[in-house]
């Protein structure tokens, strides 16, 4: 049965342009060594939240399918606000013990898979998934720790604006994001971002606009 590729709407346009990377939102480009998510690589974010959703948003908006596994509390509304296309999102909230097979299957269909692995993912399983990843053209975004990751990001500090003492509402969040990793990514980069800005988009924060942030992010910095 030869189903015509034209009858199905998976845009392949990004292949030609982006070559080896999946696009990210413009504000995030400077944090990543190649200005995008390198295909076949693992990118980690220390904790599940706005940052990892923002990382996925660029490729999703560009037409990639995104699978989200192991994150039952993923806020799709916020993700959609950042640019993730809910139409092209698959959720597997609870993959259980079969998570490696689930991720491998999702990587067959989706260019982008966002995973929160169990705390102690065995090295053997991780390496097997990395091999699967290299064979394909996908990107694995991990919320948490993944020792073999090419790029690691985390939020160092963040602060919300708009909320007072008994009044107001959350409007925007200014976050200091750091990226480091291996190879090209070895040099740590730090950027201030509005994540999100008042209009819901992700933008680079001008130094003058950065609010006074007394809060230092919790000290549960990931080792490795």
């Amino acid at each position: 049965m030869a189903a015509g590729p034209s009858s199905h709407g998976l845009p392949e346009a990004s292949e030609a342009i982006g070559a080896g990377t999946l696009p990210v939102l413009p504000a995030l480009r400077e944090l990543l060594p190649r200005g995008g998510l390198a295909r076949g690589s693992v990118v980690t974010v220390a904790e599940f939240g706005l940052l990892i959703l923002a990382l996925a948003a660029g490729a999703s908006a560009d037409g990639a399918w995104c699978g989200i596994a192991g994150v039952p509390e993923a806020g799709v509304l916020a993700a959609a606000g950042l640019g993730l296309d809910a139409e092209r999102t698959l959720l597997v909230p609870d993959p259980g013990h079969a998570w490696p097979q689930v991720v491998a299957s999702l990587l067959d269909g989706c260019e982008l898979v966002l995973l929160r692995p169990p705390a102690q993912a065995p090295a053997q399983i991780r390496q097997r998934l990395e091999a699967t990843l290299r064979r394909g053209r996908g990107v694995l975004l991990v919320a948490g720790d993944w020792p073999g990751a090419q790029v690691r990001l985390r939020v160092l500090t963040q602060g919300w604006t708009g909320l007072g003492d008994g009044h107001g509402r959350l409007r925007a969040c200014c976050a200091q994001v750091m990226a480091d990793g291996r190879g090209q990514a070895a040099v740590a980069r730090t950027r201030w971002l509005w994540l999100p800005a008042e209009d819901g988009r992700v933008t680079v924060a001008e130094p003058a606009d950065i609010p006074d942030l007394p809060a230092v992010r919790r000290l549960q910095v990931v080792g490795g």
Partner: protein, 465 residues
């Protein structure tokens, strides 16, 4: 009033252990009546009028068939009634033969509890429990309601069960001679020795068949599945369902049919891996009873945005973890962050629970939380003095909140807050009614939270970070 349904006999063989045995059953029944339809594994049906006349009555026919099956070592029960649905129920209740006299089917059905509708995987489950809650205990209660009211309250599914309850077919059988060939075929080159890839192909094939039918405003309640093996043998089987045979349901039936037909090669076979039939070369689905579509199921097939590749991946995960394990989010209306996103199992119609259109006063504007807990977490919110912060019925707060401890975590200093925003939802429905006061809280670690007080308890519903 449409014409009464013809007489149908259903045979149930509850004790079948292997699919191959069901194949023997079908072969045995074929000697009494050539046009046997498999309904599900262990259950088959056929029009009883002709054979009953030939064998001297429905009771005699049923006795002879159950006796013939007993000779095979198969215990069976037979039910005869007007229409497949009633006959199936009769067979399930039979011991071992139950014949509902012609014209008395409505009476028989009226005594059945509405829970029997669950087995009709239409909208079954929910509808049956809903009817029960509405005080409609039996099919008779349901049948007594005017058809128009049922249809307008419960939609196409309600219409279907109402027809069933009255002893009519689930759909008006507007059978038309299939002038055009609506069948779909998949060839396997090289022949496919394993069942699994064939079943996979069957799902895609079924989708193609439904697309072809839907384009003509049709759907089918009966499908013939034909499989041809490399050694030239052919398996033909009719499958029917009173609801709609979805692609997944049809793939299941292909699996059942192949399981029954292709006895696996004996392990003692010296040729080793050589399969007995050389593999499947052709799989063909022929829509057999075509009826006019009610328009409801079109959307099921209308989702062309999913590419084959994505569908395969999603279906493989569903095969591992179950149908409900792979979800597609749909943005809709509602006042709560958790309400505004519905999760629909992959392959089903993407439709939000609540429509996006009506204005939803009370919705919290501004940034949405990235973390939305599927079940709100218990929390303690205390004031500067360490006393629990309470909210009165008039939404007056006892003191400014100072500390937040979610679910046993160490308390976090609250550095900013807003609220309470009262929300009284669905006061007209005692089950769904909720009265809550919501807050946004900012904590010293830079994170923000969406919390609510409900029935005097603090709950953390979502997190902004």
């Amino acid at each position: 009033m449409s014409a009464p349904e013809h007489r149908v006999m259903v045979l149930c063989c509850p004790g079948l252990s292997v699919p191959a045995q069901f194949d023997q059953v079908l072969t045995a029944v074929t000697s009494f009546c050539p046009a046997v339809e498999a309904v599900e594994p262990g259950v088959c049906a056929f029009g009883a009028r002709g054979p009953a006349r030939y064998f001297g009555g429905e009771a005699k026919l049923a006795d002879r068939i159950t006796a013939a099956l007993a000779d095979l070592g198969v215990e069976s029960r037979a039910g005869v009634a007007d229409g497949l649905f009633a006959a199936h129920l009769a067979a399930r209740a039979a011991g071992p033969v139950l014949i509902v006299p012609p014209g008395r089917t409505a009476e028989f059905l009226a005594r059945q509890p509405v829970s029997v509708l669950v087995s009709q995987d239409l909208a079954g489950q929910d509808l049956a429990s809903l009817l029960n809650r509405l005080g409609l205990r039996t099919l008779g209660d349901l049948a007594a309601l005017p058809a128009g009211d049922v249809a307008s309250r419960f939609g196409a599914a309600g219409e279907t069960v109402h027809r069933l309850a009255r002893g009519l077919g689930s759909r008006p059988l507007a059978v038309r001679p299939t002038a055009e060939d609506l069948s779909v075929t998949q060839e396997f080159d090289p022949p496919e020795p394993l069942a699994e890839p064939v079943v996979f192909a069957a799902k895609a094939l079924a989708e193609r068949m439904h697309e072809g039918l839907a384009a003509r405003g049709l759907t089918c309640v009966r499908v013939q599945v034909r499989a041809i093996s490399a050694d030239g043998r052919e398996s033909r089987r009719l499958w029917r369902h009173d609801g709609l045979l979805s692609a997944a349901a049809l793939a299941d039936r292909v699996r059942w049919q192949l399981d029954g037909w292709r006895v696996p090669a004996a392990p003692a076979d010296p040729a080793g891996d050589a399969d007995t039939d050389g593999g499947i070369v052709v799989l063909r689905l022929v829509p057999d009873q075509v009826v006019h579509a009610t328009g409801h199921q079109l959307a099921l097939w209308g989702e062309t945005v999913v590419s084959d590749r994505v569908a395969r991946a999603a279906m493989r995960v569903q095969a591992m973890l179950g149908h409900e394990a792979v979800l597609r989010p749909v943005l809709g209306g509602g006042r709560d962050v958790s309400e505004q996103v519905s999760h629909v199992p992959f392959g089903e119609k993407r439709e939000p629970r609540l429509a996006a259109e009506p204005p939803w006063p009370g919705r919290i504007l501004g940034a949405a939380p990235a973390v939305v807990y599927p079940f709100a977490r218990e929390a303690d919110v205390t004031d500067e003095a360490g006393a629990a912060v309470t909210v009165t019925g008039r939404c007056v707060i006892s003191a400014a909140p100072a500390w937040l401890a979610a679910d046993g975590e160490p308390p976090l200093r609250i550095t900013g807050w807003a609220g309470p925003w009262p929300l009284s939802e669905r006061w007209w429905d005692p089950v769904a009614a909720r009265r809550r006061a919501r807050f946004q809280l900012l904590t010293g670690d830079g994170r923000a939270w969406l919390a609510a007080v409900q029935d005097g308890r603090w709950l953390v519903e979502a997190g902004y970070w």
